[in-house]
C-alpha cells in the first residue's frame, strides 16, 4: 500500500521546509499590510490576501500549446501535465488510471512523442506542443485510428481508449507496427481491463496496412 503515514520522517522534514517558506511569505505579506492604514489591513486579512500572495509565489507560469491552442497558465511545480489537462483546462479525454506511469491511460503526444502525462510535470512541458485525444480528429472527420477502433470495437467501457489510440498512432509513427507480435509488444504499456486487446491489434493493423498518414 502506498502508505502516506509510513514515511513520516522525510515528509515531516518536507513539511517543515514548506511551512517555514510559507511563514516567510506570509510575513512579507503581513509587512505589506502593516504599511497600509489599519482598515485596509483588516480587509486584506479578511480577504486572505496573505494566502493569495503566498500562492502567487508558489506557482510558476507555464505555456502549453494543447491541440494548437496556447494556454498561459500559472501552475504549482508539482502539478502533473495530466492533472493540468483534466482539472485546469477541462480536457478530460486524457484519463487517469494509476497516476504512477503503470497503465497508459494518460498517454498524450508531447512534440509528437507518446508520454505518460501523469509522469510529466506541467513545467516540463512548457513551450512544447501537446496533442490529446481531443486534438486527433479534424473537426467532424475522425482520425483513421479512431475510425478503426470504432469499426473493430477496440474498446468496451472506453476508459483506456484515449490512451490506447494515442499510443496506437505513435506506435505506427515509430515504425513499431510491422507485425502482430511487434504491435502487442509496443502496445503493452496500455492496460485495457475490459480486454479489448485482440480488437485493438486488428484496428492498428488495418490502419497500418491501409497506409493512411497517421
Amino acid at each position: 500500500m502506498e502508505n502516506k503515514n509510513a514515511h513520516s520522517k522525510p515528509e515531516s522534514e518536507l513539511e517543515e521546509k514548506d511551512n517555514s517558506r510559507r511563514n516567510f511569505l506570509k510575513q512579507s505579506a503581513f509587512i505589506t499590510a502593516v504599511a497600509l492604514t489599519p482598515a485596509p489591513a483588516v480587509k486584506a486579512a479578511a480577504m486572505h490576501l496573505d494566502e493569495k500572495i503566498a500562492e502567487a509565489f508558489e506557482k510558476v507560469p507555464v505555456k502549453l500549446e494543447v491541440n494548437g491552442v496556447m494556454h498561459n497558465l500559472s501552475v504549482e511545480p508539482r502539478a502533473t501535465l495530466l492533472d493540468i489537462l483534466r482539472e485546469q483546462i477541462d480536457l478530460t479525454g486524457t484519463k487517469k488510471g494509476c497516476d504512477h506511469g503503470q497503465c497508459g491511460a494518460c498517454t498524450v503526444h508531447v512534440d509528437g512523442h507518446r508520454v505518460n502525462s501523469c509522469l510529466t510535470l506541467g513545467v516540463m512541458a512548457s513551450g512544447k506542443k501537446i496533442t490529446t485525444i481531443e486534438g486527433l480528429a479534424k473537426g467532424e472527420e475522425l482520425h483513421p485510428m479512431q475510425e478503426a477502433f470504432l469499426k473493430h470495437d477496440g474498446f468496451q467501457c472506453g476508459y483506456c481508449t484515449p490512451g490506447q489510440i494515442m499510443s496506437a498512432v505513435a506506435c505506427i509513427r515509430e515504425g513499431h507496427a510491422n507485425s502482430e507480435t511487434e504491435i502487442r509488444e509496443y502496445m503493452s504499456g496500455n492496460i485495457c481491463r475490459c480486454g479489448a486487446y485482440p480488437n485493438i491489434v486488428n484496428a492498428i493493423q488495418e490502419v497500418k496496412s491501409g497506409g493512411q498518414i497517421v
Binding site: R78, K95, L150, G158, S188, P198
Partner: protein
C-alpha cells in the same frame, strides 16, 4: 416461442455483423464524460488518508498540520465528522457495510481514518500526507489458511443422494485447490462528485453499476426522499462488480460536501482501489470426484472456505456449480466463511462460480487422465439433460453444440492425451478445456419509448453501461422491431430521473432491459396502428402518421418482467473455453497461443459488442489463471502489491487472438427476445481451461493459482 422472435430475431443473421457502438464516437474522441469529469462550479478535492494498522483502534489523531496546510478547507475524521443519519438507526452490533468516520475502531489495513478537502488536488494530496495517528494495536488475523479451522457455516450444507459417495467409487480424484485474492481493478478509478443543491437536495456524479440502488442507498444514509438525490452516471469506465454497492468513500464525499458547503470530488487512488471497493476473495477448495471405470460420476464432494471481513459476511456460490453442472446422483457441498482483518470482498466477474469452476473443471480433467478418456467425452458422459438441483427442464441448453464448435475451432484433434509429449519450436504444447454456467435472470425494468415528429425514436431508462454495450444492444432491439435505422434511435441511460431499471450485474441487463425495450416498442407500434386504423403489423411511416394527426410525438412507458415460465424452467447460460498453450521447458513461462470461447446464451442481439464481451471475459480469466494475486504480508496484515507494477493484469503481449463463438439459438422461455446473459460465463471456466492445458503440455498439475513460472520448473 412468440411471433416476434420467429420473424425477426431468428432471421437477423444479415445484421449479425452488428452495428458499431452507439456511444463509440464519444469514447474514441474523448468526449464521453466519466464521473470525475464533470465541470462543477466551486469544486473541491478530497483525498483519503488510510490507516496503517490492521486491527485495533485510533489512540490519537493529529490533523493540525494538515488543517494549516495551504488550500485546505477541512480534515474530516471520526472525531469531527457530522453524524450520518443512516448510521445511527442501525442496530449498533449488527454486521454491515463499514461505517466511515464513525468511531475509532480499525478493522483492516488501509481503512480510511481521515478525508482531507482542499481547493486543489495537489494541495489535498500533500495535506493528506501530514495527517498522523497513533493506535492501540491488537493482534490481527489475515491468513485464511492458518485460520481455516475457525470458519463458520453461513449456509446450510447441501447433499443429494449419499454423503461423500465419491469415496467408494472405483476411480477417484481427491485434491485441494486454491485461488488468491483477485482485485477488479477497472481502469477508471472509483470517483464521485457530490454537490448539495439545497439542505435536503443532493446531486452525485458517481461511478456505479446501479443508478437506482445508489439513489436509494444515499437517500437512506442521509435520510432524504429518494427523489431528492440525483444520480448521474452515463459512462462507467469498467467495474466488473466493484461498483455494485454504495461504498464508504461515496458516503464520505457526500458528508464532506456538507461540511465544506461546496461540491467535493473524491477520486480513489489505485492503491485505495485495493482496499475500498471489494475483490474476489481468496478461497480454499477441496474436490472429491468419483466415477465408475467407464466414466459415469458416482459422486462429487465440493468444499470451500472463503475469506470475509469481521464486519460483514460476504458469501458467494463457490460450491454451487458442483450441484448444478453435471448429472451426478450423489453431491455433497460444504461452504465456510472465515472472518479476517481484511475489507469485505464483493462479487467479481463470474463471481463464486468462477472460483468453483476452477476446482471442479480441474478435477474433471484430472479424472479424465485417471480414466484415460478424452475430457470432452467424459463431460458428455455426465451431461445433465434436466437441472440436477430442481429436476426441472432447462429453458434451453446447447452446451454440447458449444463443445463441438469450440473443439473444431481450436483443433482439438491435434491434442495428445499423453501429457508433455508435444514440442513445437522448443516449447511444450498443450490443449485444455473448461466449461462454465451461470443462472440466467430476468428482472423488472421500465422503459419510455417516444417517437418524435422527425422520426427519431427516444428510449429512456435508468440503467448503466459499464462496458458491454447496453445502449448498442437496446438500439439493435428497437431498430429491429420498429424497422428504423439504428442511427435514428437515441438511448438515454445513467440518470436517476429516468424510468427505473435494475443494477447492472449478474448478467441480467440484456434480458431484463432488452425485454422492456422490446415490449415498449411493441406497445408504441400498437399505439401507432390504433391511431392509423390499421391492423397489420410491420413497417409504418411514423412521421406521416404523426403529421396526419397533428402530433409532435407519441410515447409509451412500459414496465416489463418475467412470468410463470421462470418457475417452470431452470434457466442458465453456458460456456466452454478451449486453450492452446505453450510452456517453455527451461523457464516455465506460459504463453496462451490460442483461445476459443463458445457461449450458449440464447439469441445474440448485438454481434460485435457480444463477441467483445466474451473475449474480455476470457482475458480476465487468463489473468486469474496466470498472473493475478493480491498478496498480504501477514506479519503486518498489509497488501504488498497494491499497484499495476506489482499486481499483474494481462497486457497486450500476454494475449493472443481470442475467438468468441456463439451457439446463437434462442431461449424460448426466458423472455420475448430469446437472449440470456453472457458477462459471467465469459470468465467462468477459463482458469481451469488454462490449468488443464498447462498439464497437457507439461504433466504438471498446478492447483494453486496463479500459474507462475516458478510452479512449473
Amino acid at each position: 416461442m412468440n411471433k416476434h422472435m420467429e420473424n425477426k430475431i431468428l432471421n437477423k443473421t444479415s445484421t449479425l455483423e452488428g452495428i458499431s457502438r452507439v456511444d463509440g464516437r464519444l469514447k474514441v474522441t474523448g468526449k464521453a464524460k466519466y464521473s470525475a469529469e464533470y465541470s462543477v462550479k466551486g469544486i473541491t478535492y478530497g483525498v483519503l488518508v488510510p490507516g496503517t494498522i490492521t486491527k485495533g483502534s485510533i489512540k490519537t489523531l493529529d490533523i493540525k498540520k494538515a488543517e494549516g496546510a495551504p488550500g485546505v478547507l477541512s480534515v474530516i475524521t471520526y472525531l469531527n465528522a457530522p453524524k450520518v443519519p443512516g448510521y445511527q438507526t442501525d442496530k449498533p452490533q449488527a454486521k454491515g457495510m463499514l461505517k466511515i468516520f464513525y468511531d475509532e475502531q480499525i478493522y483492516f489495513n488501509g481503512q480510511p481514518i481521515a478525508l482531507v478537502i482542499a481547493d486543489s488536488f495537489e494541495r489535498a494530496l500533500f495535506a493528506a500526507s501530514l495527517v498522523t495517528a497513533t493506535y492501540n494495536v491488537e493482534p490481527h488475523q489475515t491468513d485464511l489458511i492458518k485460520n481455516r479451522s475457525n470458519g463458520f457455516t453461513p449456509r446450510k450444507d447441501y447433499s443429494r443422494g449419499e454423503d461423500d459417495a465419491y469415496k467408494n467409487a472405483p476411480v477417484k480424484v481427491e485434491q485441494e485447490y486454491f485461488i488468491p485474492t483477485e482485485v477488479h481493478n477497472p481502469m477508471e478509478l472509483h470517483a464521485i462528485i457530490a454537490r448539495w443543491d439545497a439542505d435536503d437536495k443532493l446531486t452525485v456524479f458517481d461511478k456505479t453499476q446501479g443508478i437506482k440502488a445508489t439513489q436509494k442507498n444515499i437517500a437512506q444514509a442521509f435520510k432524504l426522499p429518494p427523489d431528492n438525490v440525483q444520480v448521474t452516471s452515463p459512462f462507467v469506465g469498467g467495474a466488473f462488480g466493484a461498483a455494485l454497492r454504495t461504498w464508504p468513500h461515496e458516503i464520505a464525499a457526500v458528508l464532506a460536501a456538507k461540511v465544506v458547503k461546496r461540491p467535493v470530488k473524491l477520486v480513489l487512488s489505485r492503491a485505495d482501489m485495493f482496499t475500498s471497493v471489494g475483490y474476489r476473495p481468496l478461497t480454499w477448495q477441496k474436490i472429491g470426484l468419483g466415477a465408475t471405470a467407464d466414466g459415469k460420476f458416482v459422486g462429487i464432494t465440493h468444499e470451500a472456505a472463503g475469506q470475509t471481513s469481521v464486519y460483514e459476511d460476504f458469501t458467494e456460490n463457490s460450491v454451487n456449480i458442483s450441484q448444478l453442472m453435471y448429472a451426478s446422483p450423489n453431491v455433497t457441498t460444504r461452504y465456510k466463511l472465515v472472518s479476517l482483518n481484511v475489507n469485505t470482498p464483493t462479487p467479481m466477474r463470474g463471481p463464486g462460480e468462477a472460483t468453483g469452476a476452477f476446482a471442479l473443471e480441474s478435477a474433471i480433467d484430472e479424472l479424465s487422465y485417471a480414466l484415460n478418456m478424452d475430457p470432452i467425452e467424459l463431460r458428455l458422459k455426465n451431461y445433465a439433460d434436466t437441472d440436477p438441483l430442481s429436476g426441472k427442464p432447462y429453458s434451453s441448453k446447447f452446451l454440447n453444440d458449444a463443445y463441438k464448435l469450440g473443439a473444431d475451432r481450436i483443433g482439438w484433434s491435434n491434442r495428445n492425451q499423453k501429457p508433455g509429449s508435444v514440442i513445437e519450436k522448443g516449447w511444450l504444447v498443450g490443449y485444455g478445456m473448461g466449461a462454465g454456467m451461470f443462472g440466467a435472470y430476468r428482472g423488472s425494468a421500465t422503459v419510455l419509448a417516444r417517437m418524435m415528429a422527425d422520426g427519431t425514436l427516444l428510449l429512456q431508462t435508468a440503467v448503466t453501461d459499464i462496458g458491454p454495450g447496453t445502449g448498442t444492444a437496446m438500439v439493435s432491439i428497437a431498430s429491429d422491431i420498429m424497422e428504423i435505422p439504428a442511427g435514428k434511435i437515441k438511448f438515454d441511460l445513467g440518470d436517476s430521473s429516468l424510468p427505473p431499471s435494475p443494477t447492472q450485474g449478474g448478467s441480467s441487463i440484456t434480458s431484463t432491459v432488452g425485454s422492456a425495450v422490446n415490449d415498449a416498442c411493441k406497445e408504441l407500434q400498437a399505439k401507432f396502428q390504433e391511431l392509423n386504423g390499421t391492423t397489420e403489423s410491420g413497417k409504418m411511416d411514423y412521421v406521416q402518421i404523426l403529421k396526419k394527426h397533428n402530433l409532435q410525438q407519441l410515447e409509451v412507458t412500459t414496465t416489463s418482467h418475467g412470468g410463470p415460465e421462470q418457475n417452470k424452467y431452470a434457466m442458465y447460460s453456458w460456456s466452454v473455453h478451449f486453450m492452446k498453450v505453450l510452456v517453455h521447458p527451461a523457464t516455465g513461462v506460459v504463453k496462451v497461443d490460442k483461445a476459443v470461447s463458445v457461449a450458449d446464451c440464447g439469441t445474440i442481439i448485438s454481434n460485435k459488442t457480444a463477441s467483445s464481451q466474451i473475449k474480455g471475459g476470457t482475458i480476465m480469466g487468463t489473468g486469474m489463471a496466470l498472473m493475478e494475486e493480491a498478496v498480504i504480508d501477514h506479519r503486518y496484515g498489509r497488501l504488498i502489491n497494491n499497484n499495476f507494477a506489482d499486481y499483474h493484469v494481462p497486457v497486450q503481449a500476454d494475449i493472443p487472438q481470442v475467438e468468441a463463438l456463439f451457439v446463437n439459438k434462442p431461449d424460448p422461455y426466458i423472455n420475448p427476445i430469446g437472449a440470456k446473459g453472457m458477462g459471467e460465463i465469459a470468465t467462468i471456466g477459463v482458469a481451469a481451461a488454462i490449468a488443464n492445458a498447462v498439464y497437457n503440455a507439461t504433466g504438471k498439475r498446478v492447483r494453486d493459482l496463479p500459474i507462475t513460472p516458478d510452479k512449473l520448473i
